[in-house]
């Protein structure tokens, strides 16, 4: 039995539907424990006050935002090579989640930045390259929704995802170069993660694991929803064809 059997939409739905609640609850549990521990049971770092605790949301969301794009890249490649519908739909399902994770990362960063650097937003390379990632997500989602034929949309967005990945990496280096340029913003120092207290480590890991599971659950739910949508469209098309 090959793993590709799960590329059949029906098989995929049948397999994942019972798993979804488990993953969801596990993710809630991990996030609750991680955040509870992180927010209430860790000492406030000396120079950051309580605002540092937003780290337990900020860092996982930021990592998931990047990983979501990476997952889209892999599933896009699978779609192009093996033409498994579930793969394309999983990429489509992940995009809005990744975009929202990016937004959460940006927003929590901004909330964090306000007490830390005294500004909501700075054009610092890492933040900037994240903003660009958000733009890539926007373009990807817009292209999906602009094309009516689903297979065409899957093909074109896959090509975009691959080319976009290259340029996203390139953009990141460009942004670093740009930010390191002669006009480095004085308010910001890059070594923010150097003095993380070891007591932060465990809650951070838990919350990270929770976010990973949360992401997986969301992708599964959305993929299943998209499969159902395609199924409805297919049935409708079939009905129309029967009529004519």
């Amino acid at each position: 039995m090959s793993i590709w059997e799960y590329a059949n939409p029906k098989k995929f739905m049948a397999t994942t539907t019972p798993v979804i609640p488990w993953v969801s609850w596990a993710s809630f549990g991990l996030i609750l424990v991680g955040l509870g521990w992180g927010l209430f049971l860790t000492p406030a770092a000396e120079n950051f006050e309580h605002s540092v605790k937003i780290l337990f949301v900020h860092v996982p969301s930021v990592l998931m935002a990047i990983n979501a794009w990476f997952m889209m890249l892999v599933t896009s490649l699978i779609w192009l090579v093996r033409r498994h519908h579930v793969s394309a739909l999983a990429a489509r399902a992940a995009a809005p989640i990744g975009a929202v994770m990016t937004l959460i990362g940006l927003a929590t960063g901004a909330i964090w930045g306000q007490p830390t650097w005294g500004t909501w937003w700075a054009w610092e390379p890492r933040l900037t390259s994240f903003l660009i990632l958000f733009l890539f997500y926007l373009g990807y989602i817009a292209l999906w929704s602009a094309i009516e034929d689903q297979d065409t949309a899957a093909d074109l967005t896959s090509v975009l995802c691959i080319v976009g990945s290259v340029f996203a990496v390139l953009s990141r280096y460009a942004a670093i170069f740009w930010g390191q340029g002669l006009h480095q913003s004085a308010t910001f120092s890059a070594d923010k993660e150097t003095n993380i207290d070891p007591s932060f480590w465990w809650p951070a890991v838990l919350s990270m694991g929770g976010f990973v599971l949360f992401f997986i659950a969301l992708v599964l739910i959305r993929t299943n929803a998209l499969i159902r949508l395609r199924r409805a469209m297919a049935l409708e098309a079939r009905a129309n064809r029967g009529a004519s």
Partner: protein, 212 residues
């Protein structure tokens, strides 16, 4: 004029094709020999355009094979690829260059374009434009033509001119033509009615089949 000497034959075997992800035609088979034309018929929406696009390689077939000499097919549809700001001559010269051939003087006569040669294509009437679009076929020197309603907007005389060109120039030189049309071209060619090949509603091959 005459086309290259290799024996040409178009063989279509059990071809099924889809449009918009839905199977439209099921197991169409036919063969056309060098020097022959085939007329496709069938009611609106049966799948003539779909079949021709599949034959021309613009879209993949669901199943079945199309056997024709490489680099010999040309496709022509309602959209003629005419540039409004180029003159009739320039339009034809472009296609000739792209196919590495020259524009034979005879096409202007064959398609009654002599007086229009220097006119910008955008100022032609519907039928004149159509004639220009058809003249392209006389320029690119391809052996196997797939024509989708080539005589739309043409008056009776122009239809006659086109049929003459096909018969006396293209087919006589060993060419092949597959033509979808609703009117009678006056060609002495076998007719294939596509109605019996209509795909059943339950036929396999729809792109969304995996979801059912």
């Amino acid at each position: 004029m005459g086309y290259a000497q290799t024996m040409t034959r178009l063989t279509v075997t059990d071809l099924s094709c889809a449009r918009g992800g839905i199977p439209v035609l099921d197991r169409v088979s036919f063969a056309v020999d060098a020097g022959q034309a085939l007329v496709l018929r069938g009611p609106n929406g049966i799948g003539k355009t779909t079949l021709l696009r599949t034959l021309a390689g613009l879209q993949p077939a669901l199943a079945g094979t199309v056997d024709l000499p490489e680099e010999e097919a040309a496709y022509a549809s309602h959209a003629d690829g005419i540039k409004a700001t180029l003159t009739v001559e320039e339009n034809l010269a472009f296609w000739a260059q792209l196919y590495g051939s020259a524009v034979p003087e005879s096409v202007y006569d064959a398609f009654d374009l002599t007086t229009l040669r220097l006119r910008a294509a955008g100022t032609l009437s519907a039928g004149q434009k159509r004639r220009l679009g058809l003249a392209r076929l006389g320029v690119i020197g391809r052996k196997v033509l797939f024509l989708d309603e080539p005589t739309v907007s043409l008056d009776t005389r122009s239809v006659g001119l086109f049929a003459d060109y096909l018969r006396d120039t293209h087919l006589a030189a060993g060419g092949i033509a597959v033509i979808a049309t609703h009117i009678d071209l006056g060609l002495d060619a076998p007719v294939l009615d596509l109605t019996p090949f209509k795909a059943s509603a339950t036929m396999a091959g729809a792109s969304d089949e995996a979801f059912l």
